[in-house]
């Protein structure tokens, strides 16, 4: 059982590593946010799950941290994406349409 918990934890950290790699490789701010947050969220949740299997007595606090991250991670990445667009962060050259920029005048 302990080995299973440790393996789940390891899988979580591997996702974190892949997310960081994506953060480095992606060409613009939006793609970086995508790589960073998704991998970081699942990575941390798996790590917490693994820790809960290794240390069953800690489940309540681990659950709280997990719930907190589950709500705040997408919020902060969304706020960051909005800030990126509003402050005019460049889109990667291979980007297709940008409906938000098209509609920007009507919105404000």
């Amino acid at each position: 059982m302990d080995v299973i918990g440790a393996l789940i934890l390891l899988a979580g950290t591997v996702f974190l590593l892949l997310g960081s790699l994506g953060l480095l490789r992606m060409p613009d701010a939006y793609n970086r946010i995508q790589a960073g947050t998704k991998a970081a969220t699942l990575g941390t949740l798996l790590t917490l799950l693994g820790a809960a299997i290794l240390m069953p007595a800690w489940w309540a606090k681990l659950l709280l941290i997990g719930l907190f991250l589950l709500f705040t991670n997408p919020l902060s990445s969304q706020v960051l994406a909005r800030a990126a667009h509003r402050s005019g962060a460049a889109l990667a050259p291979q980007t297709g349409v940008d409906h938000l920029a098209e509609d920007r005048e009507d919105l404000s």
Partner: protein, 86 residues
């Protein structure tokens, strides 16, 4: 066995931290640095949980929780500032 796997996990966390730190340092724009910072803090939370496991001390989890709260607030404030600053 468990010790070995946990050590491997710690190595992954360390590498992830370095990669995110590199993005934080090179930018190129402020937004990219903030994204790097956001990911850095999430990786640190995983690091703290690992430290709690290795040291067998539950108190570290409280540290992780408060750290998560503060980093979330920090990112929101900086993002607001970026929007207003343009």
């Amino acid at each position: 066995m468990v010790e070995i796997i946990l050590t491997l996990a710690a190595v992954c966390v360390g590498l992830a931290f370095l990669l995110a730190l590199y993005r934080f340092v090179i930018g190129p724009q402020t937004v990219d640095r903030v994204i790097g910072f956001d990911v850095l803090t999430i990786i640190s939370i995983t690091g703290i949980v690992l430290a709690a496991l290795l040291a067998q001390r539950v108190v570290y989890l409280d540290v992780a929780l408060v750290y998560a709260l503060l980093s979330f607030l920090g990112v929101i404030v900086v993002a607001r500032y970026l929007e207003g600053g343009q």
